[in-house]
């Protein structure tokens, strides 16, 4: 019974592929995987937009959209029709070809990144040996798309917004990649399947052996989350489209469905990094507690992804936008040193795995945690007081 549900989608795909004539199978298998990923995550996008608008409303003490359909459930459909039917305006002085290509170049690599993510047991489209690298390589192409969008619009706001977006994405890519490096170092593989497999098993017979339950894993997870928020240009790191100063950044000259594609790409990118965070730190599709193993693997992945989406909405509803110099200072002066130090802590964790005396486990945990917390607090205090990361005070100069 468990086997049936757990492998439901895998078997379904095998059945469809098996029913096809011999010559078509090689082509059909990747196509079916791609269609499934596209369908599931596009619907998830629609759902997320609705949940986000409702949730943000509740956070701001208002009910949110509730006019279209019962309790506003058809709002995504209305948004979709609106985006499709809006006029597509291309500025006269824009670089027509690049202006057209930018949304495509934005969406394609984001979709590619899904190819290597394991959504459940045996549910990964392509298991590359260097899957993690593939993910980041795909993510890197997004920057080019942002530049294309900003430059081709021939608008100073879009160019400035694109420059800001690129600077932000390059800056936060470093902590993002370095945060994953600890896991790669301990697992000894870049394959996401291997990384998920390494998190199988349980501590003391019940708690899953996820990397997030180690001190360095927790620190890397938090840094990864912050960097991922910045990478996907979400609040509080949504400066590239800061309405107050840049109108809408690189999206100023986009309207109608091209804008919608950027929007979709942004959300799909968010889901992709969330899925990567789940894979790297939260045990992929493994259940959190031993007793809950009977639920299918893809269910656990979905639950974790939903948790991430809710968390990101919560963040957006809570934190105000970061100032641009704080943004850069935070990445280079705070996250980067911490994440580098975190690698050292991960190495210490690895080399202390053989400790066998009484209380070794607790000592190892507490020691590693202290190794992270003390620099965190010292660095935080130094930046807070001396380098202007803290609240800014204004003085009148006579």
């Amino acid at each position: 019974m468990f086997e049936l549900f757990d492998q439901l989608f895998v078997n379904l795909k095998h059945a469809v592929v098996g029913a096809l004539p011999e010559g078509w199978r090689g082509l059909a298998s990747p196509l079916i995987s791609a269609a499934a990923i596209l369908g599931v995550f596009a619907s998830l996008f629609a759902l997320t937009v609705l949940v986000e608008r409702k949730g943000l409303g509740r956070i701001q003490n208002r009910p949110g959209p509730n006019r279209v359909g019962p309790a506003g459930l058809l709002q995504p459909l209305a948004d979709f029709i609106k985006a499709l039917t809006k006029e597509d305006i291309v500025p006269v002085s824009a670089d027509k070809v690049l202006h057209f290509l930018a949304p495509v170049v934005m969406l394609a690599p984001v979709l590619l990144a899904y190819a290597v993510l394991p959504f459940g047991r045996n549910m990964v489209a392509v298991d590359f040996d260097a899957g993690l690298l593939f993910f980041f390589a795909a993510g890197a192409c997004v920057e080019l798309a942002v530049f294309m969008a900003g430059w081709s619009s021939h608008n100073k706001f879009s160019l400035l917004g694109a420059m800001r977006a690129i600077a932000q994405m390059i800056s936060y890519e470093l902590p993002l990649i370095l945060a994953t490096l600890g896991v790669v170092m301990l697992v000894g593989s870049l394959s996401l399947e291997d990384i998920v497999d390494s998190q199988a098993g349980h501590h003391w017979g019940w708690l899953a052996r996820w990397w997030v339950f180690t001190p360095w894993g927790l620190a890397a997870f938090v840094i990864f989350l912050i960097a991922a928020t910045a990478e996907s240009n979400r609040a509080p790191f949504d400066l590239p489209e800061g309405e107050a100063e840049l109108v809408a950044g690189h999206l100023v000259e986009y309207s109608g469905f091209k804008y919608a594609i950027f929007f979709i790409a942004e959300y799909l990118g968010l889901f992709a990094v969330s899925a990567l965070a789940i894979t790297l730190f939260l045990g992929g599709w493994h259940a959190p507690v031993a007793g809950l193993d009977w639920l299918p693997s893809w269910f656990w992945f979905g639950v974790k992804l939903a948790g991430f989406i809710v968390f990101f909405i919560w963040v957006r509803g809570t934190l105000p936008r970061v100032r641009v110099d704080h943004l850069m200072g935070f990445a280079w002066k705070f996250l980067l040193p911490l994440v580098l130090w975190n690698l050292v802590v991960a190495a210490v964790w690895w080399y202390s795995r053989g400790w066998a005396f009484a209380g070794a486990g607790i000592l190892r945990w507490v020691g590693c945690a202290a190794m992270i917390l003390i620099p965190y607090s010292l660095l935080g205090r130094a930046l807070y007081t001396r380098h202007g990361l803290g609240p800014r005070t204004y003085r009148l100069v006579a």
Binding site: R58, I59, N61, R62, P63, G317, T318, G380, R381
Partner: protein, 193 residues
Amino acid sequence: MLGSGIVKGFVETARNFVGSFHDPERLVTIEYPDERQELPENSRNFPMLVYDGDDPMKGLRCVACKICEKECPPQCIYIEVERDAKGKALKHPRIFDLDISVCMSCQICVEVCPFDAIKMDTAFELSTDNRFGGLLLNKHQLAKPNSYYRAIHPLEAAEVDERLAAEQAKAAAKAKAAAAKAPAPAAVNAVAT
């Protein structure tokens, strides 16, 4: 420690989120077309003409004295007096137009009116698809019964009714005295009930 403020913010928004589901103080939105807020006693929007009795045109308190037309700062009122066949002015407006696209809701017309004929309405759903004719209200559109006035401004209306009744009683007593002195035609009161 760095980051404690962020945690505080998260707690606050979470409290808002949860509170908005069960605490009416947190979810203050009034879903307007379905629900309506009760307007406060002193709310006002554009003027209206109050009439007594059942016939809006006969019962108008307005005597076309044109004080409001003269006092109106943006000059949104236009009045013409009704005249009989001989050209004698009747104490009645033939035309009373009010352009609510010009009106600034200052209530000066109400304050200067000696006959308590013009009062402020509270209706605000006045949108129309014709910005010229649709926003130029004539006396038929402006006329509202006294009962409506009592409903929207109860305190003010009670005070006005009381004063008018007192004036009427005084006028009736005077007419009675005059009638006792010399049998003359009964005085027509413009603001008769």
